[in-house]
């Protein structure tokens, strides 16, 4: 695609995570000429979602030597003039650490021998070959390691991301299998690439296992396209700033959502459903009549606790948990409120606990029985939706486009331009950079937090219900005082994030140690490793782990702008994902930066409804793509007040 990039913009945004993408949409919407780039081949940075094979490629990239394999860039040093200085950007993101992968599902081949990589192989090669020929060359390169004790994943293979960034692709067939027994099960570290999912449905292989479907690793690989695995696990509060922004800006039309169907609690070794709406409370079979009354009374109070300060004023400086003890609530109700409704740490003060409880209750019922929404196809869709809005208003998008340095004018101290990997200078007035692109020099004084993450593929839900299509949010309280609560989101296949008959489970907590050390105890409480022979683990049997991934992600959300060293004032920094459940941090960050850059401008106002647009007969050219003028002119009266339907929704 030898299209040349303009060299002058108003705003250059580096990184396509959620805050950057919201900013891109906001800037573009307010008439700025926006260039939005990402050095990666995918949208979202650490906010991305991946198919299964995409995730495996991502894992490889994480393991790759930081400075290696990037020689195609043009040196920028001699492009800097005497009156300028350069601030180099980081060549490779190192915000992901302690990656560990375990495969429990059976690796027996059978049907897995040919993972045919049709078009994923190498687009340029494919494109230049005769097109009518069936493209059937297989590219399978699998490296299998087994070592349950090794903390690091082996990183030997060169990445083969999606073929687009690499000039050549070697066809390899190498398989190393070293399996060690660890207790009764075999843990296998697996790195597999060239894995291409096929379109055809899984051949169901559940003969002799009427109770549980047998899912093999090769099925996961084959159906890999069905997975959309989020790097960050978040939900949208029904009354939250992201929902409000999506609706206000009309970006919501690019995505679809499902309501989280249930809130779960983990108490005394068991998973239980938390009744949260009024109907839930009254229908609950677990609660006694007295408990129902107590709970309703307390929740009703929480909805307008500010009106009754006398009720809690003695506890304002004391923990919420202590306050709950005085509220005539049975221990299980206290547990529900503290961990699953307020979702606070045990040290949380009473007022904050009441506030969190109130927020939870306010979010109920807007879209369903729980306060949360989950985007179909994963959280990674959301940044992309904002990017589309930016593009619709003229923003220019370049993935796989690396910015080497920022160019600063010595005299004014302002950043004037960037130099990209082609050695091209692109100038702008404002620069927005995601934290992970900043160099070690710039970040020398920065203190980062860490997020511990686990991603599991399992064969059953943690709590069986009439329907197997549940989206569940579970909080596992810390096992000992001072430890962190672990947030668990379990997604079913109708969220479009995992294949049929599996569940995708995300665990998140702020890190005390490596992700595996932080989260494995919880994983062991909830799940059991997959084993070929069904072991009777009592009642009810735990869901089985088919595959597990642990990693730590850097949390830059608490970093203040002033701790970055030597950045010009017109360079703004966006943080990576924070550890919180909602997206409030990202939205607030984007809005705050937008107001700093363009004080008084409207933040993501609604665009005109496409159905209300008709083009002027003269069909004038749009003015420069920076102006706020639309090519459109008048409203079509007949459809003026209409809303859109979701496509095809009346078809069933």
């Amino acid at each position: 695609m030898a299209d040349s990039l303009p060299t002058e913009f108003d705003v250059i945004i580096i990184g396509t995570g959620l805050p950057e993408s919201i900013l891109a949409a906001a800037c573009s919407r307010s008439g700025q000429r926006v260039l939005h780039v990402d050095s990666r081949s995918y949208y979202g940075g650490n906010w991305a979602s991946f198919t299964f094979s995409g995730l495996l490629s991502w894992l490889k990239e994480c393991e790759q030597d930081s400075e290696a394999g990037d020689k195609s860039t043009v040196a920028w040093q001699n492009l800097i003039q005497d009156t300028e200085e350069a601030i180099a950007l980081r060549r490779k993101d190192d915000s992901i650490q302690h990656v560990e992968v375990f495969c429990y599902a059976s690796k027996d081949t059978g049907d897995s021998a040919e993972e045919i990589d049709v078009l994923q192989k190498n687009p340029s090669l494919v494109a230049s070959s005769t097109l009518t020929k069936p493209l059937d060359s297989a590219c399978l390169s699998e490296e299998t390691h087994s070592d349950s004790t090794s903390p690091e994943m082996p990183a030997k293979d060169t990445p083969q991301h999606d073929g687009e960034i690499l000039p050549e692709v070697t066809d390899r067939e190498e398989t190393q299998v070293k399996e060690t027994d660890c207790g009764e099960k075999t843990c296998i570290h697996t790195v597999s690439d060239g894995a291409k999912d096929e379109n055809k449905p899984v051949v169901e292989d559940n003969s002799g296992q009427p109770k549980r479907n047998r899912i093999t690793y090769s099925q996961i690989v084959k159906e890999g396209r069905r997975f959309n695995i989020d790097l960050v696990s978040k939900l949208l509060y029904s009354q939250g700033s992201l929902i409000d922004l999506l609706i206000k800006s009309n970006v919501s039309r690019y995505a679809e959502f499902k309501n989280v169907t249930r809130i779960l609690a983990f108490r005394e070794g068991k998973v239980e459903q938390v009744p949260c709406s009024r109907a839930d409370v009254f229908n609950s079979k677990e609660l006694t009549m007295v408990e129902k009354r107590m709970l309703m009374k307390f929740l009703t109070f929480c909805l307008d606790y500010e009106q009754h300060p006398g009720e809690y004023q003695d506890f304002t400086q004391r923990p919420f948990s202590e306050y709950l003890k005085t509220q005539k609530l049975t221990p299980n109700l206290q547990h529900f409120i503290l961990h699953s409704i307020a979702m606070t740490e045990p040290s949380c003060l009473t007022v904050d606990g009441l506030k969190a409880t109130k927020h939870f209750l306010q979010c109920l019922g807007r879209y369903g029985n729980t306060p949360f929404l989950f985007p179909l196809y994963g959280q990674g869709e959301i940044p992309q939706c904002f990017c589309r809005m930016c593009a619709v208003f003229g923003g220019i998008y370049c993935l796989r486009h690396r910015v080497q340095c920022l160019v600063v004018d010595k005299e004014s101290g302002r950043c004037e331009a960037v130099i990209d990997h082609f050695g091209q200078r692109i100038s702008a007035k404002f620069f927005i950079v995601e934290d992970s692109y900043l160099s070690e020099d710039t970040c020398a004084g920065v203190q980062y937090g860490q997020i511990s993450r686990a991603v599991l593929i399992t064969d059953q839900s943690v709590l069986k219900a009439d329907s197997d299509q549940q989206i569940s949010m579970l909080t596992v309280p810390p096992a000992e005082p001072g430890a962190r609560a672990v947030r668990v989101a379990e997604l079913c296949s109708s969220t479009m994030t995992c294949m049929k008959d599996t569940y995708l489970v995300h665990l998140t907590c702020s890190s005390a140690s490596t992700a595996r050390e932080d989260l494995e105890p919880v994983v062991q409480k909830l799940f059991t490793p997959y084993a070929e022979t069904e072991i009777d683990e009592g009642d009810p049997p735990k869901p089985r782990l088919l595959w597990a991934l642990y990693f730590n992600m850097r949390d830059s959300s608490g970093v203040s702008r002033s701790s970055y060293h030597g950045l010009p004032s017109n360079v703004y920094v966006c943080s990576g994902p924070d550890c919180g459940l909602g997206n409030e941090h990202a939205v607030k960050l984007a809005e705050t930066l937008f107001q700093q850059i363009f004080p008084g401008e409207d933040f993501c106002p609604p665009p005109p409804n496409p159905e209300d647009i008709i083009f002027d007969g003269d069909d004038k050219q749009p003015e420069a793509p920076g102006t706020n003028t639309l090519i459109v002119a008048k409203l079509e009266a007949s459809e003026g007040s209409q809303n859109l339907d979701s496509p095809g929704q009346h078809l069933q």
Binding site: M1, Y43, T51, L119, P123, V126, A127, L131, T132, P134, E164, N199, P201, R226, L246, I247, R253, A255, E256, K258, N259, T261, G368, L376, Y377, Q384, C385, C387, R388, A391, F393, G394, Y397, C398, L399, S467, Q469, Q470, S494, M496, K500, P607, P610, E611, D619, P622, P625, L630, V632, E639, Q642, N643, L644, D645, S646, P647, G648, Q649, H650, L651
Partner: protein, 203 residues
């Protein structure tokens, strides 16, 4: 949103290299215009045209790439929930034809299994500069199991036919109940999908 306005609503998505005439096809069809040398389309997300086929009103929502194809940066979410894809190349531009496998790869990755894909060779008004023969394109589309058509947005050749044929096929598929709106969705989606635009309590 009044349901009585139409019997069917389909989302059609255009893809293909920059400059092959995607926007012109849409504009020609929806507005009957051919905008010469038009720049990027600012502020227009998709266009709507309601057509009547055998007495049934079919509303076509036609989405354009918003220029994100220029540097191969189309968002995956663009493909989601499309009922049909129009994969366009320029018959006078070999390169735009050579890139088709890359586009097919994206479709394979992100679009629904049940999506209908149509291959369109545009700009047949420039036949004297043709670089891609009809035969090659036919062979390619057959190998990939795609419906194939050559058009001229400028002369309005085959543009109506393209969209109307597509609408007919979409109706047929919908009737056979094989048309699935989102990727695979083999399950009878428990819990309703929340779509803001269908809800009234947003504003």
């Amino acid at each position: 949103m009044s349901m009585e306005d139409y019997d069917f609503l389909f989302k059609i998505v255009l893809i293909g290299n920059a400059g092959v005439g995607k926007t012109c096809l849409v504009r020609r069809f929806t507005q009957g215009l051919f905008p010469p040398g038009q720049g990027a389309t600012i502020g227009v997300d998709f266009m709507i045209k309601t057509v009547e086929i055998n007495g049934e009103k079919v509303k076509l929502q036609i989405w354009d790439t918003a220029g994100q194809e220029r540097f191969r940066s189309i968002t995956q979410s663009y493909y989601r929930s499309a009922n049909a894809l129009i994969l366009t190349y320029d018959i006078t531009c070999e390169e735009s034809f050579r890139c088709l496998p890359e586009w097919l790869r994206e479709i394979e990755q992100y679009a629904s299994n049940k999506v209908i894909t149509v291959l369109v060779g545009n700009k047949i008004d420039l036949a004297e500069r043709r670089e891609v023969s009809q035969q090659r394109a036919e062979e390619f589309s057959e190998a990939q199991d795609m419906y194939y058509l050559e058009t001229s947005a400028k002369e309005s050749d085959n543009v109506e036919k393209l969209f109307l044929d597509l609408a007919c096929r979409l109706i047929r598929e919908a009737r056979q109940n094989t048309l699935v709106n989102s990727v695979s969705s083999p399950l009878p989606g428990e819990g309703k999908s929340i779509n803001y635009l269908t809800c009234c309590n947003f504003n």
